[in-house]
Symmetry: C2
Subunit: 204 residues, 2 copies
Amino acid sequence: MAPQYKLTYFDVTGVAEACRYLFNYGGIEFEDVRIKSENWPQLKDKTPFGVLPILEHNGKVVGQSLAINRYLAKKVKLAGNNDWENLEIDAMVDTISDLRPKLLPIVKEQDESKKKAAIETVKKDTFDVYLPRLEAAVQKNNGYLVLGRLTWADFYFATISPAYDLTIREDVLAKYPNLKALREKVNALPAIKKWLEVRPKSTF
Amino acid sequence: MAPQYKLTYFDVTGVAEACRYLFNYGGIEFEDVRIKSENWPQLKDKTPFGVLPILEHNGKVVGQSLAINRYLAKKVKLAGNNDWENLEIDAMVDTISDLRPKLLPIVKEQDESKKKAAIETVKKDTFDVYLPRLEAAVQKNNGYLVLGRLTWADFYFATISPAYDLTIREDVLAKYPNLKALREKVNALPAIKKWLEVRPKSTF
């Protein structure tokens, strides 16, 4: 039988990697479609809002990686057990998600010395604000970001945070042993470890 | 009895107004705390991640407006009836949310002629892409954004979209009668109509 889920994204980890982790963690078969940049212009107008990832299931198609993650997390029992627990997870995920656009000034800057200055600004104004608080959260939550147990917020952090290093050009989590240990713990889960061995090699 | 929920935000509608709509719609009492800009620096470091809104309930505090909306929507029966329906709502909300940061180049630009150019760019690259698709969604969904019925996605759109006009300096929905009717329909709900009459006068 063909997989019931088809996930379409670019050939990178990016914001879709947490979806792929969730599929693998739950043993849910999925079609892992990866669009090459040169083929994107033709496909773009056929997607609901001109962005990826999209998930296809039962003849329906939806976008938005965090929405898809939340849906999959319920299927694989990495969501909250009640509305308040889900609120705590969602708030953590959106907090981590808020960090991403703050890296854009670095990515967009072409001039090397201005790029270096942008990196310093992001380190000071963003990472020095967010990471100590996330580190404290993991310390308080039994080695996880929220609820004292593994949730999809941990998958999101584990898959998104490697891009920080690439952007900032250093091991961003070096000063944050709890966050680093969390990422390693997620990546050591048997189903995830196996996925990391077989997944296509790609950049972030 | 004191309200069980305390919502803290600035004295504007902004991203917290959908939360206020949901409280009112469901007849849930809440403390509507509005921080004046001059008092924000003292409070900032006492919030979980230095941002507002925050929701306090049962001695706990969480941030992130969309997470709070989703939680409240479940309480007041404006969420989906199953996981897939919630995915459809979440994807719509995140799509509308994606639009907001695209307005920032306009807001940040001080030079009037450059600001006008930025407005034209956003109209062409963002509104002309998103709004026809949202309009088609409402047309297809019985006058609502998703699921053919009122959901918290409609509240989110109704509360966020007035800021578009302010930023773009025109009636952005003029060309989109279904979206305009949706906003008016939400604002005409008895509990919302009453809220609009009594809420503090504030800018977006």
